[in-house]
Assembly symmetry: C2
Homo-oligomer: 92 residues x 2
């Protein structure tokens, strides 16, 4: 069944203690190439049937109204998961 | 600065109560096109400098060792955030 991915990230002006903790842990574990880390959420919505414009519009509305908290989070991406990305995810 | 995105999702055989709760709430709020929902995590790693093969390899290793719990989660995507996606995220 087709899948719609919704990505939600904390707004840039919002503190992200989990991201900060990860950014602090990375160099201690030998990962030195990164300046900062932000942690957000990813939702995979399985679509019942075909992905029509109406379903995509529903997903965008649900992303804004149910999946994210607009006070502290931005919806950064609403997209149909492509076949190649699905294969990638299965092999990862 | 360039950004690497890491997406982590609960393994298919792992229960996902948050996803289940969202899937239950969607039809009550009028969103009827979706069969199921899974909730995972998205990390944005800001790269200090250029994205080389070495930095990408570091990101993949960090994704497996620090950002995900391999007992219950799969790393489904490690990718450089493209300019167009960044613009999209800023306009969203």
């Amino acid at each position: 069944m087709p899948t719609i991915v919704v990505d939600v990230m904390p707004k840039p002006e919002i503190l992200d203690p989990q991201g900060k903790a990860i950014a602090g842990a990375l160099p201690r574990l030998g990962f030195t190439g990164f300046a900062s880390v932000r942690q957000g959420r990813r939702f995979e919505l399985t679509v019942d049937g075909e992905v029509t414009e109406d379903v995509l519009a529903q997903a965008r509305k649900a992303a804004e109204e149910l999946l994210s908290n607009p006070v502290i989070e931005d919806v950064v991406n609403v997209a149909v998961l492509t076949e190649s990305a699905q294969n990638e995810s299965q092999s990862a």
